[in-house]
Amino acid sequence: MKHPSIDKLALYAGGELSWWTQWTLRRHIGGCGQCQHEVALFQEASAEAFEEAGQMPAGVQWERLAAEMRANVRLGLEASDAISAYAAPLDAPPVRGMSWRTAAVATCLLMLLSVGYWLGAVRKSEQLAAARGPEAVVLEASERAVGLSDGNKGMELQGPRRNQGAAIVTVSTEGSAGAQYVDEETGQITVNHVYVE
C-alpha cells in the first residue's frame, strides 16, 4: 500500500488541502491504521499549539499578526535585493573562471543548502498546518443566495433569477443565514435559510 507523504498528512490534519485531495486522503486514512496514527499525532500537536495560543494577550489576533510578519519579511528581502543591485558596480571586472573541481564542490554545497532549507520549510509548514485545526463552517447571506461551506463541501439556496436585488439578508448567531426575496413578476415572497447544528 502506498501511503501519502508526511507533509500531506500534516496538511490533511489541519484541513489545509483542497477538498478533492482532502477527500481522497480521507478514503485512504479511513482504512489505514498507520496513517490514522500519524494524523492523530498532528492533531494532538495542533491542540497543544492552540493551548499555547490561548495564553497570548487578549485581543491579539495571531492570523493577522502572522500575515503582517510574513509581509514584513518579504518586504525586507525585496529591499535587500534592491540595495544589492544598486550597490553593485556597473563596470565590475569580469569574474575569473573557476576550475571544474571548485565548480562541482560549489554546486554540491548549494544543493545541500537548498535541500536543508526545503526540509526546514516543509517542517515549518507542517507545524503551521497542524496548528490551524479544522476549518469553521461559514454561513453567508447575500442578495444572490444563502449558503454554508466548510471549505470542502457546501450548499446554497439561490434566490429567484428575476430581480435578485430585492433581498433582505440576515444571519442568526445561533447558526443560520436567511434571505427574503420577492419575485417581481409573480409577487411571490420566498424566504430561504440555511442552518448548521
Binding site: G59, V60, G154, T173, S176, V191
Partner: protein, 372 residues
C-alpha cells in the same frame, strides 16, 4: 440514484431522476400537484458531484382552511456539519383546493457516495392556517416564524386599510411610495456568521495593518411597547467583524417569556447603518426576570460586490417575543415610526408583497387587494 451517480461519476452529465424526493406525511394537508425539474443538472467532476437543482413545485391545499404560510425543509445527503436548508413561502392566502408554487433553487458540491439515498430530500416542516393553527414536524421552529410573519402581515394590512379608509387613496399611495423609497435606500450588504471557531480570512483583508479588536457597546433602540428592556450589551469588534455579542435583558411583563429575538444593526465608518443579524434567547425568562445572553458567534459584513467595510458601532432592538402561554408580541406600526427603527427594521413579507403588487398593478390593484 446515488449508486447510479457513482457509476456515472467519470462522465460529465449526471442523471437527476430520483435525485430529489418530496416526503409529505400521509395526513399532510398539502399534496404535490406537480414537480418540474426544468433546467436542473448534475455535473460529475472526478469523485464529486455538483448539483444544480431548479425545482418548480406546485402544492395543493387539501385542508378546509386557508393556508397562510409554508416552510419546506431541504436536506442534502452528506451535507457538512448537519447543514440543512429551508424554503418558506410566507404572506400566502391559499383557499382550500387551490394550488400555489414554491421554487427550490439549490446548488451543492459534495463527494459521490455509494449510499442509496436520494441526493436531496424535501419535507414539510410546517403549514400555518388562517386560524393560526399549525401542522408539521416543526424541526426548524417554523411554527414560531410563520406565526410572527402572519401577525406582521395582519398588522401591515390593517395599517394600509386604515390609511385608505381614514385618509383616502392619495395617502395610501404616499405611504407606499415612502416604503418603496425606504427599501431602495437600504445599504446593500452581505453578512456571514461562524457559530464556532474562527472566521476564515477574507480575501480583501489588509495584510499589513494589524487591527486590534475592541469592546463596542450597543446602543439600544427603544420601542415604547416592547415587553423586554435591553439593559446593556457589547461585542468585540475588529475591522469588518463583530464577535461574542453579550446582552443583558429584563422582562417588563407579568408573564413568563419562552423565546425572544433581538435584532442587531451594524454601523460602518462611512456612516451607513444596516440590519445584519438576530440574536435569539431560547431560555425561559420569568415574569419581570433578568437574564444575560452570551454568544460565541462571529459576524462579518461586507458591501455587496465585495468591497470591505469597517464596523464602527452596533445597535440592538427587540424583534419579537413568544410568551410561555403561547402568545406573541411583535412591534406595532407606532413602535416602528421612530426614524432609525423605520430605516433599520426590514419590511415584513406582506409589506414587500403589497409594494410589489402596487408596482405591478398600480394603486387600483392595491386598493382591490386591501378590500378583500
Amino acid at each position: 440514484m446515488a449508486a447510479a451517480i457513482a457509476c456515472l461519476a467519470q462522465e460529465d452529465g449526471v442523471d437527476l431522476r430520483g435525485g430529489l424526493k418530496i416526503n409529505l406525511a400521509k395526513d399532510s394537508p398539502l399534496a404535490v400537484a406537480s414537480l418540474d425539474l426544468g433546467p436542473s443538472k448534475g455535473t460529475a467532476r472526478g469523485g464529486a458531484v455538483m448539483l444544480d437543482l431548479h425545482a418548480s413545485l406546485r402544492l395543493r391545499n387539501l385542508s378546509t382552511k386557508h393556508v397562510k404560510g409554508v416552510t419546506l425543509l431541504v436536506m442534502a445527503q452528506d451535507m457538512t456539519a448537519g447543514g440543512k436548508g429551508s424554503v418558506a413561502a410566507p404572506a400566502l392566502d391559499v383557499a382550500p383546493g387551490e394550488d400555489f408554487p414554491v421554487r427550490i433553487d439549490l446548488r451543492m458540491v459534495r463527494p459521490v457516495s455509494s449510499g442509496a439515498e436520494p441526493l436531496v430530500q424535501v419535507m414539510l416542516d410546517g403549514v400555518l392556517f388562517d386560524d393560526l393553527t399549525f401542522f408539521g414536524e416543526n424541526r426548524l421552529n417554523s411554527r414560531r416564524q410563520l406565526t410572527v410573519w402572519e401577525l406582521e402581515a395582519r398588522r401591515d394590512r390593517k395599517h394600509f386599510q386604515q390609511l385608505l379608509e381614514a385618509h383616502g387613496p392619495e395617502t395610501l399611495q404616499k405611504e407606499i411610495l415612502t416604503a418603496i423609497s425606504r427599501q431602495a435606500d437600504r445599504p446593500r450588504v452581505d453578512v456571514q456568521v461562524v457559530r464556532r471557531g474562527q472566521m476564515p480570512r477574507a480575501q480583501n483583508a489588509p495584510a499589513t495593518n494589524y487591527e486590534m479588536d475592541r469592546e463596542v457597546q450597543f446602543s439600544f433602540l427603544r420601542m415604547p411597547g416592547a415587553p423586554v428592556d435591553l439593559m446593556a450589551g457589547a461585542a468585540r469588534v475588529s475591522g469588518d467583524q463583530a464577535r461574542a455579542p453579550h446582552l443583558e435583558i429584563r422582562n417588563r411583563e407579568q408573564k413568563a417569556i419562552r423565546h425572544l429575538e433581538i435584532g442587531l444593526a451594524l454601523k460602518d465608518t462611512n456612516g451607513q447603518e444596516f440590519y445584519a443579524a438576530t440574536v435569539p434567547y431560547d431560555e425561559p425568562l420569568a415574569a419581570q426576570g433578568k437574564a444575560a445572553l452570551k454568544d460565541t458567534a462571529t459576524l462579518r459584513a461586507r458591501n455587496t460586490g465585495g468591497s470591505r467595510l469597517v464596523i464602527e458601532g452596533m445597535s440592538g432592538f427587540v424583534n419579537n417575543v413568544e410568551y410561555a402561554d403561547g402568545g406573541y408580541w411583535i412591534p406595532s406600526r407606532a413602535d416602528l415610526t421612530e426614524g432609525r427603527l423605520s430605516r433599520l427594521v426590514p419590511p415584513s413579507p406582506e409589506e414587500q408583497r403589497l409594494i410589489t403588487l402596487y408596482k405591478r398593478k398600480g394603486l387600483q390593484g392595491l386598493i382591490e387587494e386591501l378590500k378583500k
